[in-house]
Structure formats: structure tokens, C-alpha cells
């Protein structure tokens, strides 16, 4: 009996380890939880990309929107761009933040591939990106009409990721 208990210890240990490693299989270690979920979008006032003058936080509020962090140097941004165009045509409000990019290239990009953004502002030094906790592009923040960040998606927005959770996040925004 005692022997049985003794022998089962490695077995139990093995199972615990197995469960622990198994649930890690589906996780993406690159994906970090955002520290800003549930918090208001930080204040900012930055230059517009296509229009003259600056854009600030208050101008964006009033209706739920996606804040998409993008750049022309980012290959995944090219990948998701067409899908963003589609979402915009379905009436989703998307605001762009051009992140540490060359402005001429960024403008050319929008005129070539289409412009899904209601408005675009420029964070060329990456300062506001730090306030947002951005650690790569693309990142998409889901922001409600009061300016509270409800969700942050790291990586490409496409048909699959939209159907697998992003749409329901968007629909929950008020």
C-alpha cells in the first residue's frame, strides 16, 4: 500500500506537468495582456497625417472606434490593410496611428492601397506609443464612445481573427 502511494507520486507529478505544458501549447508567448484595458485612452495632441493641424483625444470620442497602429515598414500591416478597408466600408470607425514612419511613404501607401481610416495621426517619435503600451505593429485598440480602452489586439486583423472574437469585442463597445 505504502509502495503504491510512493510509486504514484511521479505519476501525479507527470500528469500535473503534462496539464501545465499542454495548456501552454495554444498560448502565444509574444502576446502580452494590455495594462490599459479598462482605462481611458491617454491624452494626446499630435499632427494629422493627411490634414493640417493637430488631432487630440476629444476629437475622436462620441462613437466606438478601433485605433489601429500601423507603419509602412510593418509587413503584417500590409497584410491586414485590405481587411481594414472592408471593415471601414461596413461602417466600422477606424482611426489610424502612423507609428515611427516616413510621412511621404505613409501618404503614398494610403493613396495606393486605399484609406480605411476616418482620421490618421502621426507618432513619429513613438512617444504616444509608449503611453499606449505599444510594443509592435500592428496593434488595434478597441475604444468605446467614452474613450475607455476595452480591448487590445496584437497582430493582424483579418477575417479569421475578426470572426474569432474581435467582432464580438467590437459589438460590445458602447
Amino acid at each position: 500500500m505504502k509502495r503504491l502511494i510512493l510509486y504514484s507520486v511521479p505519476l501525479i507529478f507527470f500528469f500535473l506537468l503534462g496539464v501545465f505544458l499542454w495548456q501552454g501549447l495554444d498560448k502565444n508567448p509574444q502576446e502580452l495582456p494590455s495594462a490599459l484595458v479598462g482605462k481611458p485612452l491617454p491624452e494626446f495632441e499630435l499632427d494629422g497625417l493627411l490634414q493640417d493641424g493637430t488631432i487630440d483625444r476629444n476629437q475622436l470620442l462620441g462613437q466606438p472606434f478601433l485605433l489601429n497602429v500601423w507603419a509602412t515598414w510593418c509587413p503584417s500591416c500590409a497584410e491586414e490593410h485590405e481587411y481594414l478597408n472592408q471593415l471601414a466600408s461596413q461602417g466600422v470607425k477606424i482611426v489610424g496611428m502612423n507609428y515611427k514612419d516616413e510621412l511621404e511613404k505613409a501618404r503614398l501607401w494610403l493613396s495606393t492601397y486605399g484609406d480605411p481610416y476616418q482620421v490618421n495621426f502621426v507618432d513619429d517619435k513613438g512617444e504616444y506609443a509608449i503611453d499606449l503600451g505599444v510594443y509592435g505593429a500592428p496593434e488595434t485598440f478597441f475604444i468605446d464612445s467614452e474613450g475607455i480602452i476595452r480591448y487590445r489586439h496584437v497582430g493582424v486583423v483579418n477575417d479569421l481573427s475578426w470572426r474569432q472574437g474581435l467582432k464580438s469585442q467590437y459589438d460590445q463597445l458602447k
Binding site: 508567448p29 509574444q30 502580452l32 495582456p33 515611427k100 513613438g126 509608449i130 503611453d131 503600451g133 510594443y135
Partner: protein, 161 residues
């Protein structure tokens, strides 16, 4: 010969000194030496969110560079170590520090290793005590006889069969 040996020793010693090779390129000016030390300590302790397992001192990712700049700026502004760490945690979460705060979710992280060591030590002590107790017990006459019998049987046998 002695000279050669010394050279070899120095070369080996240099191999151990790898830190500087990974050090970052840009140079920041500080007003006081104490600020410089604070900077070194912070960039050593803050983790680069973009890279999976590097601090912002070792990483050459653009984001790590931006964060080093932010740290420098704030040190010049007179911010304390804790204030700067808090600034980063507010934006990037606990991931950003290699010294995670003590709270219920991190108990396992902080205390797990100690619990493990004490558990193993406890088992070790318990086992050695038991062994000592068994060793102290004298054999009965019957057991002595059985032991002598076994030993004599064994010695008559060819050790290599």
C-alpha cells in the same frame, strides 16, 4: 613560457567578460554619478516588451532604445527608481519588470522555489533520521545467524559466474 601562460590566462579571463559586448551603443549624459548608476540599474531591471527575454540594456530593438531614452529623460527630471518602474508597469504591465511585484498571483513565483527547497530538505532530514534509527538497531541472534549463513554462502561461490 611563463609569459605565454599569463597570456592564456588573460584570454580566458576575457572570455568570461561578455557583458560589455552586449552593451548598448548610445551614450547618455548625466549630471551626477548617482544618476548614471540609477540608469544602469533601471535598464538592467526593465524587460524589453518586444523581445522575449532581454532587458532593455541588452536589446537593440527600436522599442528598447525608445524606452532607454524615456528612462534617461525621467532620471534627469528627478524621478525616483520606483516612479520610473511604475511608469513602465502602468503602460506595459508586470511583464516589463524582471522584479515582479508581490501579490497573490505572483506568490508561486516568489515563494515556489523556497517551498521546493524546504520540501526537499525536509524529506532528506526525515530519511537520514530514519536510516540512522534503522542502523542503530542491534540484530537479534537469529538475524546474526542468518547473516553469517548468507555471507558464508556467498564467499564459497565463484565471484564471477
Amino acid at each position: 613560457m611563463n609569459y605565454l601562460r599569463r597570456c592564456l590566462f588573460l584570454t580566458l579571463l576575457l572570455c568570461l567578460y561578455t557583458q560589455a559586448l552586449f552593451a548598448v551603443i548610445e551614450v547618455y549624459e548625466f549630471e551626477e554619478e548617482q544618476q548614471h548608476q540609477q540608469y544602469e540599474r533601471l535598464i538592467d531591471e526593465l524587460r524589453c516588451p518586444k523581445c522575449q527575454n532581454q532587458n532593455i540594456a541588452d536589446s537593440n530593438a527600436p522599442l528598447a532604445k525608445d524606452l532607454r531614452q524615456k528612462v534617461h529623460e525621467q532620471i534627469l527630471d528627478g524621478k525616483s527608481h520606483e516612479e520610473i518602474v511604475q511608469y513602465m508597469v502602468d503602460r506595459y504591465g508586470d511583464f516589463v519588470t524582471y522584479r515582479p511585484p508581490l501579490r497573490p498571483v505572483t506568490y508561486l513565483l516568489w515563494f515556489g522555489p523556497f517551498v521546493g527547497v524546504f520540501l526537499v530538505l525536509g524529506i532528506l532530514v526525515w530519511r537520514t533520521r530514519r536510516m540512522a534509527r534503522v542502523a542503530q538497531q542491534a540484530l537479534t541472534q537469529e538475524e546474526e545467524a542468518a547473516l553469517a549463513h548468507l555471507l558464508s554462502q556467498n564467499s564459497t561461490k565463484d565471484p564471477i559466474e
